[in-house]
Subunit: 512 residues, 2 copies
């Protein structure tokens, strides 16, 4: 395995409530991963007046940025991208603060205007979700952004003062909030939504949700439902779930809300306001759910740098790159994985009249073929289970939870065991048990035709009658290990998946 040169990109994000630094390790055009993260509550809006940020807030921000900057130096960040959003943007003394940061810390802190903030959220999301046209809602502490995406491009966006913290501070004094407070808050949300001239263009379209508040709403819903994956990638948060959460939050004091399974303790005080914004947007757009993106502003800033050689910093094939990125991060054996992908793809094609599946299932098979062995990074023993866990834990960009579950299960059953959807029932369709069994049979067959990991088999041909499936393995020399291992380990599942006896033969390469 050749070691590629990675570099480290730090993104600093000075938000209204929280400052964060993430450290990404990146190999251009190859892979990236999160390597470190620090967050610090700075409460920048506290004590803000028409003069701007209070001296105490400036002090806290400076000291935090100083520490972030030292941290970036000490861990060897090659590039530091630092931005500030609504609090600094709205402050009369924002420019003076930026100058002070440059002078005292030597850090070039960029103030993002509202549209730029919306843009980066969109860039982050588009590199994780695979939609072409959608609305994107990003709720932060100070502001919220609503944007429109067409043909996988940012079209337009607007920043509203609908941040969960800003709204809570302005409208909610009681614990729990009174009916009157909530009514006033709702009116404010409606007024601001009314101000978006083009909001109706988003009506009925898919909506993607970003930011900690929305993620936390999804996490609470996931906990209540016993959601089987460990990631919120592609999670579908329904309007009913949001309404249910609002009803729950309203009746509870802060102390009681803290005990809701899945809630982040430092969001329990502002999550009701955030949930009201989500509910209002869903109602306004007349849609019944939104899809979570776990990437947003910070990732958008990272991707602008990472994908700087593209005309727009948005991957065309977010699924394909996501799979490769995971495989590469777990140091997969590229040649072996490619060969299993090739052979399983050929089997899939040859068997098409029998299974009748199309591009979606083929995509699952290809992803599983590339990822089936990543669990060896944990241990050889039980590596099929470790592969499952790694996929299940991390999720896969652009895939729905159902597809993530199926890819994880294909990896699980790539070498042994009777395919079984146990644990994922809530995510799967009825027909998925059959999909799993057939694709696992194909994947396993390809895996054992590549048992010697030297790409000895160049093709596979299949024909059949009602009784028998005849599989012809094409190779320049006799693939003894592969035939033996496929016969032993892959034929039984193939027979049960396609309801026919399997006969396996070898054919020398014949100048086809």
């Amino acid at each position: 395995m050749n070691e590629r040169t990675s570099h480290r990109v730090a993104v600093i994000d000075l938000g209204s409530n929280t400052a964060r630094v993430i450290l990404m390790s990146a190999v251009p055009g190859y892979s990236f991963r999160l390597e470190d993260e620090i967050r610090e509550v700075v409460r920048l809006r506290q004590g803000m007046t028409t003069d701007g940020l209070s001296p105490e807030a400036v002090e806290r921000a400076l000291s935090t940025l100083q520490l972030f900057s030292r941290f970036c130096r000490s861990v060897g960040a090659d590039i530091v991208l630092a931005t500030a959003t609504s609090a600094v943007r709205d402050a009369a003394n924002g420019p003076a603060f930026i100058a002070q940061v440059r002078d005292e810390i030597g850090l070039d802190l960029r103030i993002l205007d509202g549209e730029r903030e919306a843009y980066y959220g969109v860039i982050g999301a588009l590199n994780e979700v695979a939609t072409d046209h959608c609305g994107i809602l990003d709720i932060g502490g100070g502001s919220a952004q609503l944007s429109e995406v067409g043909d996988r491009r940012y079209r337009k966006g607007i920043s509203l003062t609908l941040g969960a913290l800003a709204l809570s501070e302005r409208f909610i004094d009681s614990d729990p909030a009174t009916k009157r407070e909530i009514r006033a808050l709702r009116e404010e949300i409606e007024i601001q939504l009314d101000s978006i001239a083009w909001i109706d263009e988003l009506a009925g379209k898919e909506l993607v949700g970003l930011g900690g508040t929305i993620r936390n709403l999804a996490k609470i819903d996931a906990a209540a439902r016993g959601y089987p994956l460990n990631t919120l990638h592609g999670y579908s948060l329904s309007r009913d779930a949001v309404d249910q959460s609002i009803a729950d939050f309203r009746g509870l004091s802060l102390n009681q809300r803290q005990k809701i399974p899945g809630i982040s303790s430092d969001r329990a005080d502002i999550i009701l306001a955030g949930a009201l914004v989500v509910a209002a947007v869903l109602r306004r757009l007349d849609i019944d759910k939104l899809t979570i993106s776990t990437s947003g502003l910070r990732e958008g800033i990272f991707f602008e740098h990472y994908l700087r050689d593209l005309p727009e910093p948005v991957m065309r094939d977010v699924r394909g790159f996501g799979v490769l990125n995971m495989a590469r991060n777990y140091r997969y054996h590229e040649q072996h994985a490619d060969q299993v992908k090739l052979l399983s793809g050929r089997l899939f094609e040859e068997l098409e009249p029998l299974h009748g599946y199309g591009p979606p299932e083929r995509g699952l098979l290809a992803a599983a073929a590339l990822l089936h062995d990543i669990g060896t990074t944990v241990a050889y023993d039980g590596h099929h289970r470790h592969s499952q866990t790694l996929i299940h834990y991390n999720g896969l960009s652009g895939f729905t939870p159902r597809k993530i579950a199926l890819i994880a299960l294909l990896a699980r059953f790539h070498r042994k065991g009777k395919p079984d959807t146990a644990g994922y029932e809530g995510l799967l369709k009825k027909r998925d048990a059959a999909v799993l069994t057939r694709l696992a049979a194909i994947l396993r067959f390809a895996e054992f035709l590549e048992r010697g990991r030297n790409a000895i088999v160049s093709d596979v041909l299949v024909d059949w009658d009602d009784e028998e499936l005849r599989i012809t393995v094409v190779a320049t020399e006799h693939p003894a290990v592969e035939l033996w291992q496929a016969e032993r380990n892959a034929v039984p599942l193939m027979e049960s998946a396609f309801g026919r006896r399997v006969r396996l033969r070898w054919e020398g390469e014949v100048g086809r």
Copy 2:
């Protein structure tokens, strides 16, 4: 991270019932890991007569070895070490078979005599367990070996025809076995044990058990007890548990035995005979348990090669190397881990009068310091939990299950959370909750004093009174990030662990 050159060592082991090939990836003096494994049932003893192996058995063995040999070539094994044990050793036509293997396959298959077989089992075990003096019992299919270890060296050993398969075939025809059959089997075991002139020298000593049958007995016991670790490293199998298993097996038909949780389906027919051997040896030596080694013959053959530069192929410090091997296999950040180990060791020393712990606890802390971040190989998010899982799953050579659990928990709590022994109660002592809390406090402190990962802190000094713990951090320049992060993230646990308010200060290096 510099990529070291690894080579691949294949070990082929042609046993009486099963043939196996393991492929080890090894970097001399640095690390090794299992990379692949194939096993094939050859039933070499089936149809064996005074003329030796039957023609069918020879055919099966030749074809299996041919495939193993091709497999080794195709995966790029640099070295292939092939051995045969009791069936070939006992067969009149064994030498002819060896010649045929050489001529037809080009494989140099070495017949191990009984003592050599015992020797390799001992070498395998001594590189996994940390005892100096012990007996070692290895039960295979055809034979069983009993050996004596003194000063971590093989002293003597003997091979007996007490293999689980051989005994079952000779004595058990009924299902379940009759009283009479069991009596005859027991008598045979006693006669053979009587033949070992030096067996009493092992009386009262520690006994280490190897081989699939013994591992399976441990696995059954572990399943019944709800054992929390996923590994049998260092598992203690009690005489009571073996007696209980024998009582259970005796009353059940093969079909019923197959359903016992933890039993290997291809051992259910021979495990009773194996259990009777274990019970007889424990009784004879008057000891009440044995300790499992998961390494045996094949690993012994590998270690003879891997450690060939040592006078004896046995590690002196099996714990130390096991920890490093795991850290290296998970590509730890060596400089960071060493620094956390150094600082946590210094804190441990300085605080010694307060905690009163000695070398055993310090060993746990050092292991956890080297391993705390290995979970980043899985993902940065939640890496403390991943570190715990990796340790918990793989085990650690030379450590008892209790210590493995404590090291896993220290990794778990190295950066956040309130230390808690939940899930491991059965393995831990009463005082371990306090041990965990104090060592986790120390480890966490050291971790945050190395937050910038650049070894800026060179030492830590501690003094205290009844109220206050004063921690002086020594560094050439002001360790701003480290003081901030330690204050934020490590002080609270330190305060509760040592019952004092913590005051943190920095001191420039003063030519100490």
